[in-house]
C-alpha cells in the first residue's frame, strides 16, 4: 500500500512527468480564467493532445489541469462580479462585495488558499478511498458491475438539478448514442445506416467537445460585454492569509461536502459549491455579513469546488462510474489505453492511482502559488469578450476532435452535437447524464452479456451486491418523489437545504431560458421520434444485438412521452393564468449584489433576449459549418487563416489590427504544433 504510494511519488521525480504536470497546471489556470469552460473544458481541450502519449504523462497533465481549474475561476468572479464558471458564482456573492470594499487581495487570498486546501483534502480523501473500497471492489463480479453502470446513469439523471424526466430522457439519449457502431457481442453494425464511418462508433471527444464545448461557445458569443470596470486589486495578501487560518473548520467542512458531492454522479462542482455555502450560512451564529463580504462565504465554497473534482475521481477509478463530466472524459481516455477502471485498476495499476493522487495534491499547491504570483497580469484575460476568444477556442477544439480518429466526419458530428447541446442547455435538459450515458453504454452491454452467460437464468439477481445496488436504485426515485411533493405542497415551508436549485438560474442567462416554450416542446417531441425510430430500426438486428437498443429505446420512449405530456400540460396551464410569469421572475435568493447589476427583466425583454440568443447561436453554428467546408477545401491552416479574421471582424466586431495579429498568431501556433506535439492537421482537397 504505502510502497505503491511512495514509488508513485518517486516516479513523479521524472522530469518529463513533472513537465507534463506543469503544462497541465498552467493550462488549467488559463482555462479557469476563461468564462464558461471549467473542468469540462480543461479536460476536453487537453485530452486530444495526450493521444500520442503514455498513460502516466497524459494523466499527470489532465489531473494537473483538473485540480487547478477551480482555483483560478475565482478571479473573474471577485474582480469583475461576472463568474467565470457556474460554481464560481457562489464565491461572487461575498468575494465581489469584499473586492468592492477595496479588499480584493483579501478575498482572493482566502479563495486561493481554500482552493489549495480543498484540493489537498480531496487528494487525501481519494487516498483513503483506495484501501477502503479495495476489498469491496475486488469482490465485485460482472453482475455488480452491471448494476453499477445502471446506477451511474440513473443517479446522474435523478440528481442533476431540475426535472427528473428531463434527466432520464437525456441519459437515455446518451445511452442510445453510445450504442451507435459495432455491437460488442455479435460484431454487428447498429444504427450505422451503412456508413463505414459510423460503424466505428462516435468519438468520445467529439461528443464531449460538441455537447459542452461548442454549445458553450455558441451560447456565449452573443453575451453582453462586461461593461463594468474591474475592481482594483487592492488590499494586502497578508490579512487574508491570517484570516484564512482562523476559518480552518470551514475549509474542512467545505472540502468534505465537496468530496461527497463529487462521489455522487451528476452532482457536480456547481451544486456542491452551493451546498457548502448553504451549510456555512446555516451553521453560522451571526449571519449578518453573508452576501456583504463575509470570509466564511468564500472559504467553504472555494474549498468545496476543488475537492469535488477529487471526489469525482473516486467512483470513476474504483468502480468505473464517472462522478461528473470531466471524469467521464478521463474514463474514456483510460479505456482507450486499455486500462479498465474498477477491479482491474486496483490490482494491476495501483501505481497509476497513486500517481493521480500525488499529481492532484502537487497541482493544488502549485496552482495556488502561481495564482498568488500571477493574478495581477492574468486578471486582464478575464476582460476579453468571449466573442474574441471564440474562434481560437473553436479552432483548438475542432483540431482536438480530429486527433482521435483523424476523420473529418468526426468534426461534422461534433458540430451537429453542438447544436444538440445548445438546445439541451437552452431547454433546461441536464447534459451530464447525456455524456455519462454515452460513456457507459458499451460497458453496460458488455457486463450484461458476461452476466447472462456466466449465470444461468436470473440467479445473479439474488447476489447480495446486486440486491444492495437495486435498493440504492430505489432511493433516488423516492427522493425525487419527495422533491415533487415539496413543490406541490404550496411550499410555505420549502425544504431548506437546496438553495442551489433556485439560485443557479439567475447566474446563467441561457440555461433553461427556452424552457416552457414551443422549443422545449419540440425537443421533447424530437426525443420521442428518435426513440421510436431507434425501436423500429433495432427490429432488424439479431436477438443478441437488439436487446440493449430495444430496452433503451423503450425506456426512452416512455420518458420522452412523459416529458411531452408535461410540456403540453404546462402550456395549457400557462395559457390559463398569464400572471404566473411574475412569480417565476423572482428567483429564490438573488442577493442585493445581483439585484444591483441585474434589473428584473420584463416578459417582453426575455422573449427578445431569447430570440437574440437563438439568432446568434444559429449564426455561430453556421459559421462553424462554413469553417468545416473551408477545411475540406483548403486544409486546416488555410481555413483558419480565412475564417478567423472574418469571424473577428463581422461577429466579434474587433478592430482590424487585433484581427490581423490574432490570425497571424493562431496561424503560427498551428504551423508549429505538429512539430511540438503528436498532432496532425486535417488536409483539404486542394492540398
Amino acid at each position: 500500500m504505502t510502497d505503491a504510494a511512495f514509488s508513485a511519488l518517486a516516479s513523479l521525480a521524472d522530469p518529463s512527468l513533472l513537465m507534463m504536470l506543469a503544462v497541465g497546471v498552467v493550462a488549467g489556470l488559463v482555462i479557469g480564467l476563461i468564462p464558461g469552460l471549467g473542468g469540462t473544458g480543461a479536460v476536453a481541450i487537453l485530452l486530444p493532445i495526450t493521444f500520442g502519449m503514455d498513460p502516466e504523462p497524459a494523466l499527470a497533465m489532465l489531473i494537473g489541469a483538473l485540480a487547478v481549474v477551480h482555483t483560478s475561476d475565482t478571479v473573474a468572479a471577485v474582480l469583475l462580479g461576472a463568474p467565470g464558471s457556474a460554481s464560481a458564482s457562489v464565491t461572487m456573492l461575498d468575494g465581489y462585495s469584499m473586492a468592492r470594499q477595496g479588499q480584493a487581495k483579501r478575498a482572493l487570498s482566502l479563495a486561493f488558499l481554500s482552493s489549495m486546501a480543498g484540493g489537498l483534502i480531496g487528494a487525501v480523501g481519494l487516498t483513503l478511498a483506495i484501501p477502503l473500497a479495495r476489498p469491496l471492489v475486488l469482490s465485485f463480479g460482472s453482475p455488480e458491475l452491471f448494476m453499477l453502470t445502471i446506477l451511474g446513469v440513473s443517479l446522474a439523471a435523478v440528481l442533476s438539478r431540475g426535472n427528473v424526466v428531463k434527466g432520464l430522457t437525456a441519459g437515455l439519449l446518451g445511452l442510445l448514442l453510445g450504442l451507435v457502431g459495432t455491437s460488442p457481442t455479435t460484431a454487428e453494425e447498429r444504427f450505422s445506416f451503412g456508413s463505414l464511418f459510423l460503424s466505428d462508433g462516435i468519438s468520445l471527444v467529439a461528443v464531449a467537445l460538441g455537447v459542452f464545448g461548442l454549445a458553450e461557445i455558441a451560447s456565449r458569443v452573443g453575451q453582453r460585454r462586461v461593461s463594468e470596470k474591474p475592481v482594483e486589486l487592492s488590499g494586502g495578501w497578508g490579512s487574508g492569509i491570517r484570516e484564512w487560518l482562523t476559518h480552518w473548520t470551514h475549509v474542512i467542512r467545505g472540502a468534505l461536502i465537496g468530496i461527497w458531492a463529487g462521489v455522487l454522479p451528476g452532482v457536480g462542482a456547481t451544486a456542491g459549491t452551493w451546498l457548502a455555502y448553504g451549510q456555512a450560512v446555516a451553521t453560522a451564529k451571526d449571519k449578518r455579513s453573508f452576501g456583504k463580504g463575509d470570509p466564511r462565504g468564500i472559504v467553504g465554497p472555494e474549498s468545496a469546488n476543488n475537492s469535488v473534482e477529487a471526489g469525482d475521481l473516486i467512483p470513476t477509478f474504483l468502480f468505473g462510474i464517472p462522478g461528473g463530466v470531466p471524469s467521464a472524459m478521463l474514463l474514456g481516455m483510460l479505456l482507450t489505453y486499455g486500462i479498465q477502471p474498477g477491479p482491474a485498476i486496483v490490482t494491476d495499476h495501483l501505481d497509476l492511482m497513486y500517481l493521480i493522487v500525488w499529481a492532484f495534491a502537487i497541482a493544488s499547491v502549485a496552482g495556488a502559488f502561481l495564482c498568488f504570483l500571477a493574478t495581477g497580469s492574468l486578471a486582464k484575460l478575464t476582460k476579453v469578450p468571449f466573442a474574441v476568444l471564440g474562434p481560437g477556442l473553436l479552432v483548438v477544439m475542432l483540431l482536438g476532435a480530429f486527433q482521435e480518429g483523424g476523420q473529418l466526419g468526426d468534426l461534422w458530428v461534433m458540430v451537429a452535437l453542438g447544436v444538440v447541446g445548445f438546445f439541451l442547455k437552452a431547454t433546461g435538459m441536464p447534459r451530464a447524464p447525456f455524456l455519462i450515458g454515452f460513456v457507459l453504454a458499451i460497458p453496460m452491454e458488455r457486463y450484461y452479456y458476461l452476466t447472462a452467460s456466466l449465470y444461468d437464468g436470473a440467479s445473479w439477481v439474488a447476489r447480495p451486491g446486486v440486491l444492495v445496488f437495486a435498493a440504492l436504485l430505489v432511493v433516488p426515485v423516492l427522493w425525487s418523489l419527495v422533491k415533487r411533493l415539496r413543490r406541490a405542497s404550496g411550499a410555505a415551508d420549502d425544504g431548506h437545504r437546496d438553495e442551489h436549485e433556485s439560485d443557479e438560474d439567475s447566474v446563467d442567462d441561457l440555461e433553461g431560458s427556452l424552457a416552457r416554450t414551443p422549443w422545449s416542446l419540440a425537443v421533447a417531441v424530437i426525443a420521442v421520434l428518435i426513440f421510436a425510430g431507434a425501436l423500429w430500426v433495432s427490429g432488424s438486428f439479431s436477438a443478441e444485438a437488439s436487446l440493449m437498443p430495444r430496452l433503451v429505446a423503450l425506456g426512452g420512449l416512455v420518458a420522452a412521452a412523459v416529458l411531452t405530456w408535461q410540456e403540453l400540460r404546462a402550456r395549457r396551464d400557462r395559457a390559463r393564468q398569464d400572471d404566473v410569469a411574475d412569480v417565476e421572475e423572482t428567483p429564490g435568493g438573488s442577493g442585493t449584489t445581483m439585484l444591483a447589476t441585474r434589473v428584473a427583466p420584463k416578459v417582453d425583454a426575455r422573449a427578445l433576449a431569447r430570440r437574440h440568443d437563438l439568432v446568434i447561436a444559429m449564426r455561430t453554428f453556421t459559421a462553424m459549418a462554413a469553417f468545416l467546408v473551408l477545411v475540406m477545401l483548403g486544409g486546416y491552416l488555410a481555413a483558419t487563416l480565412v475564417f478567423t479574421p472574418l469571424f473577428l471582424l463581422y461577429a466579434a466586431r474587433t478592430r482590424p489590427r487585433t484581427a490581423i495579429i490574432y490570425t497571424l498568431v493562431l496561424g503560427a501556433v498551428l504551423m508549429a504544433l505538429p512539430s511540438l506535439l503528436p498532432v496532425d492537421l486535417p488536409l483539404g482537397l486542394l492540398q
Binding site: 410555505a492 420549502d494 431548506h496
Partner: protein, 124 residues
Amino acid sequence: MTIVVAYADTPPGHAAVTGAVAESREGEPVVIVPAVRGERSPEVGEVESRWPDLAGRVEVERGDLGDPADTVIQVAQRLDARLIVLGLRTRTPVGKLVFGSTAQRILLDATCPVLSVKPPVAAT
C-alpha cells in the same frame, strides 16, 4: 427598535403581520421578509392597504441568502430587531419529517425573541 415578520401569502403569514401590528409600539418600524422560496415579494402598498396601521413604517427586505430561514435571521440580525414574528401552520409529524420546517429553523437559530402566532381556526 424594529420588528421583523417572516411573511408568506397564506393565512399563517397574514396572521403573523397582524400579530406584529398588535405587538408593535407607536411608530415602530416593521420589516417584512418573504419567507417562501420563489414567491413574489409583496409590495409595500399592498401591505399598507391591507393593514392600515402599518402605513408609513413598513418596509420589505429580501436579504442576500437563498434559504428563507437564514434570510429572516440575517435581516433580523442586521437591523438589530427586537422581535421576529412568524406564523405557524398545522403540520403532522410525518409532514414535518418530509418537508422540513422553516419555522423550526428560525425558532432555533434566532438571536432575538421570536413570537409565533397561529391563524384563526376557521381560516386554516
